[in-house]
């Protein structure tokens, strides 16, 4: 009879697995979705997956560095969201589309 009883605390590995799953979902969305907005959200997802890893290790190692880094990432993500949304708005205004494959004029 296998032991299905829950451990006293959530193990570290569970956090990491969750983080990996979130990150993979972000990559998949980034690569596969066509709407720029979705792609953008996928990026946020990846950032937050990384944040989760940081926090996990910070808790495990009893060091504050990871927390600080998370805040930095959040600040950057907020700034990125502002800039990114501005770009998306401009692209939409100029091209009337948010299909990522349509926006490919930056080439030789």
């Amino acid at each position: 009879m296998p032991d299905f009883s829950l451990p006293a605390a959530v193990p570290i590995s569970w956090y990491l697995i969750l983080s990996a799953v979130l990150f993979t979902l972000g990559i998949a969305g980034f690569l596969l979705r066509r709407s720029i907005i979705t792609v953008f959200m996928s990026i946020e997802l990846m950032l937050n997956a990384v944040n989760l890893t940081f926090v996990t290790f910070s808790y495990k190692l009893k060091a504050v560095d990871g927390h600080i880094f998370t805040f930095f990432v959040m600040v950057v993500a907020a700034a990125e969201a502002a800039v990114g949304l501005a770009i998306i708005l401009t692209v939409f205004r100029n091209r009337s589309t948010l299909e990522i494959d349509e926006v490919n004029s930056l080439k030789l």
């Binding site: 690569l31 792609v39 926006v103 490919n104 080439k107 030789l108």
Partner: protein, 622 residues
């Protein structure tokens, strides 16, 4: 300190003043600065030489260190005088002053803007004096080389003074290029001296010259001396590098007199005499010097006999007389060589200045065939040229007789064959100089100009030089130079003197017979010996031979191999090749940048995975 630096500084100042401001000056002011600076230099030479006498050893003044590199290389800006230098200094500044005075008259009527470049002419001439004095005063080989190159530059500038004439600029280039060959030899000699002796100072080098092992003497010293001789042959127009000097007559006549007769071309003789302590240890090199000198003397004398341009006759005469000086050095009679440098400066400067006076009188005519009968029209010029012709023909007790006699006696001491060849050459010398004199002043006038005697500024230097040509031999240079250059081989055999005088008189007599008594005779001879005459008249086709053997291959090789082959093929090929390779690689790489964001993302991911895989594979960041 005797302020030796002032000697070259005066002409340099004259050069700077005339060179920078001369365009705005009147002719009188230009002449004042040009002549004044050289005269001051001459006076300063006289004053310092009297103050420093007796000059038996090298008196050196150190001013500053010019080049210092490590402990090995230390070259100072040092000037020095001894008895050898004193002779050269007096000749250069003395004759230089006279020729500067003469030139103010000769160049007075040049057509063109700025009085035909009057100020330019005198600033070049002063610059030449500066470099020549540096050459003579230098206390080490490198400083001597500075003067050596400087006089070459001025020679080039003055040969091409009439730069609108293509032939003049060509002659200047020829002089410069031929001198490069000699200078290359000279610079190699300087390197060898430095390697062998660790110094370039005359005193240090000569002090060590005696104490070397035999095999070093046989090898290095001989090689050094031969290379020095290459340099001397270039500057002093010896076989095989003499070809530039006759062409150098394109320059104004005072230039021919000062640079290409009296001073610069004797720099080679001075350099060999200065290096006497080295040459004395290289008997093979000395033999080569003597043979080259003798060969040059004979060859140039034969060519001189057939030339029709009065300046060309004197130019070949200069080459021939320089040959005599090298013969003297080669047989060990350096002092006789320097003696001849001095007397030759007197009479050859006079010959050229006299020729200039004739040319001036005939409004530019230089061809002897269009002269004649000028004796009564320009008597002063005639009398002075007569003095010079007597001197160069070796008439007893003239300056030329004294010095040539020293050389021939020394040659006889070395090898009687050399003496006899020298005597025959002396006879030819007398012949061609008197031929020019007879063609110019005797018979009837064959030209169309209206000859007039030259002004006093021209005739006065002629008079002084005539006096020196006749009496200058009584400055007993060999005796004066004994402490520096050693005793010349003694033994005045009266028979030798009589033979050489007789040779000169025979030459004069033949010239008289050919060109005064029986004017038809030269043509008869020329017809009888047609082949020989054509050969000599065309200067042995040496220029043509050089053209075919050296110049054509170099030009053609440069064009086909260096230009069309190497430059276009290799250099341009590499440059264009780099361009087209970049373009090709870029064409392949541009496909990566397709503008599709998803491709970029996929590649970024791929890269990240690869990096992680690599890190994991090599053991991780432990």
């Amino acid at each position: 300190m005797h302020q030796l630096w002032l000697i070259p500084a005066f002409p340099l100042l004259g050069f700077l003043i005339n060179g920078i401001f001369g365009k705005k000056f009147s002719k009188r002011a230009v002449s004042l600065f040009a002549v004044g600076s050289v005269l001051l230099s001459f006076l300063w030479v006289v004053k310092t030489l009297m103050a420093i006498s007796p000059l038996e050893t090298l008196y050196t003044e150190h001013y500053f260190t010019w080049i210092a590199s490590g402990a090995a290389l230390n070259i100072g800006f040092d000037l020095s005088v001894d008895r050898l230098t004193s002779v050269m200094l007096l000749v250069v500044t003395g004759i230089g002053s006279l020729i500067h005075i003469y030139a103010t008259g000769y160049m007075a009527h040049e057509p063109g803007p700025n009085h035909g470049g009057y100020y330019r002419f005198f600033s070049y001439l002063n610059l030449f004096m500066f470099f020549m004095l540096i050459l003579v005063l230098a206390a080490n080989y490198l400083l001597l080389f500075v003067g050596w190159e400087g006089v070459g530059l001025c020679s080039y500038l003055l040969i091409g003074f009439y730069f609108v004439k293509k032939s003049a600029t060509n002659a200047g280039i020829k002089a410069f290029v031929v001198n490069r060959i000699g200078d290359f030899g000279f610079s190699l000699a300087i390197f060898l001296i430095f390697i062998q002796f660790g110094s370039l100072d005359f005193q240090k080098v000569f002090a060590q010259a005696g104490g070397l092992a035999d095999e070093v003497q046989a090898g290095v010293i001989t090689a050094t001396c031969l290379l020095l001789m290459v340099g001397a042959a270039g500057k002093s127009a010896q076989v095989p590098l003499y070809v530039w000097l006759p062409d150098a007559m394109e320059g104004p006549t005072p230039v021919s007199a000062l640079i290409h007769a009296a001073t610069m071309v004797t720099a080679g003789v001075y350099m060999v005499a200065r290096s006497a302590p080295l040459f004395n240890h290289a008997p093979i090199a000395m033999e080569v010097v003597a043979v080259i000198g003798l060969l040059t003397a004979v060859m140039a004398a034969t060519i001189g006999m057939t030339q029709n341009d009065i300046k060309k006759v004197y130019a070949y005469s200069t080459v021939s007389q320089l040959g005599y000086m090298f013969l003297a050095c080669g047989v060990g009679a350096y002092s006789a060589g320097i003696y001849h440098v001095m007397t030759h400066a007197f009479f050859k400067a006079l010959l050229f200045l006299g020729a200039g006076s004739v040319i001036h009188a005939l409004q530019g005519e230089q061809d002897l065939r269009n002269m004649g009968g000028l004796r009564s029209k320009i008597p002063v010029t005639f009398l002075t040229l007569l003095c010079a012709s007597l001197a160069i023909a070796g008439f007893p007790y003239t300056s030329g007789f004294m010095s040539k006699d020293e050389i021939l006696v020394a040659a006889h001491h070395h090898s009687p064959a050399m003496f006899w060849i020298g005597v025959i050459t002396a006879s030819m010398t007398a012949f061609y100089v008197w031929r020019a004199l007879f063609l110019c002043f005797f018979g009837r006038y064959r030209g169309s100009a209206h000859p007039h005697e030259s002004p006093l500024v021209i005739t006065l230097p002629l008079g002084v030089l005539a006096l020196l040509s006749i009496l200058g031999g009584f400055f007993r240079v060999p005796v004066w130079l004994e402490p520096v250059l050693g005793k010349a081989p003694e033994g005045h055999d009266p028979a030798l003197v009589i033979i050489s005088v007789a040779a000169g008189l025979i030459g004069i007599f033949l010239a008289w017979l050919f060109y005064v008594a029986k004017p038809g005779l030269p043509d008869t001879f020329a017809r009888a010996l047609k082949g020989l005459y054509t050969l000599v008249y065309n200067k042995y086709f040496v220029d043509e031979a050089y053209d075919a053997v050296i110049i054509r291959p170099v030009v053609d090789g440069s064009r086909t191999v260096l230009w069309k082959g190497f430059d276009v093929g290799v250099v341009d090929g590499i440059v264009n090749g780099v361009g087209s390779v970049s373009r090709g690689v870029g064409g392949i790489l541009r496909t990566l940048q397709g503008g599709s964001i998803r491709n970029y993302a996929a590649l970024t991911l791929l890269g990240a995975v690869l990096v992680l895989a690599a890190v994991a594979f090599t053991g991780g960041a432990q």
